[in-house]
Amino acid sequence: MSVTEPMPAAVAAPVLAGARIGVITFPGTLDDRDASRAVRLAGAEAVSLWHADESLQDVDAVVLPGGFSYGDYLRAGAISRFAPAMAAVVDAANGGMPVLGICNGFQVLTEAHLLPGSMVKNDHLHFVCREQSLVVENARTAWTNEFRRGQQITIPLKNQDGQFVADERTLDELEGEGRVVFRYDGWNPNGSRRDIAGITNDRGNVVGLMPHPEHAVEAGFGPASAEGPRAGVDGLTFFTSVLSSLVHA
């Protein structure tokens, strides 16, 4: 499969039928429906999970979608960390299950200590919403194995607390272990340390990023691409990648 071309859902479905990917909804989650749609377009079954549930219903992978869980009132993602469903996610992630945290989901993963660092307000103090160019730095994770290292992709970004911070030792560790998965390309939209847009755990099954792959999965609704306006479907590769990793697991 060419990584530069959209992968038709009809091709993906028969090969990977049966994979079940959970999408957790917290109070204040906004992008759960988009994430579920992305899962279906990639050819898997989307399973809606509720934050107060203790069971993950035997899903094969989990997506923590974007939004403002619990209103972000204490800190972005801080209260969600203690939701019953998150206890199950932490256990499953430590057992190797693929987990993707997008935007607020990334913030939840750092608060849950599944990923290091934290997110603070954008350095320019403004909410930012744009089509963001990224460079794929690690194409070996459960969610990026169908990209290639160094590939440039474009997916939407929209956040207010998107500035990734960690101490220098942690940043050096992330760099040294190849755990920076995506870097902002061209412009750093929030002041993130070392232009980091996404990271992974040491095992490569847990990935968090601020931009939104689930908003770039269908021609006609995504960012501009070489194929034309709104034609970008780079985000779909996240979801086909996890299906590949499940098939080959």
Partner: protein, 95 residues
Amino acid sequence: MGRVVVEVMPKPEILDPQGKAVVGALPRLGFTQFSGVRQGKRFELEVDGEVTPEILAAAREAAATLLSNPVIEDVVSVVDAAAVPGEATGTPVSA
């Protein structure tokens, strides 16, 4: 009724955008004396009875786990309001 006051501040090395916005606004109002502002959080935890050492210990644990994120914030203080002059009544201090 007892009350525990917890104060949390962003770590010194973390850029505090809210404080930065405030320090930018002060001179526009004529306050030119202040060269820096950092904005933190204050929590007031109420209990039905007295603030016992056990309750204070629980408040410290809550401060370290939920009320602050040690990656970006420091817990500055966890105190029994009754033991601090001016905190006991919870009445705002006016200039």
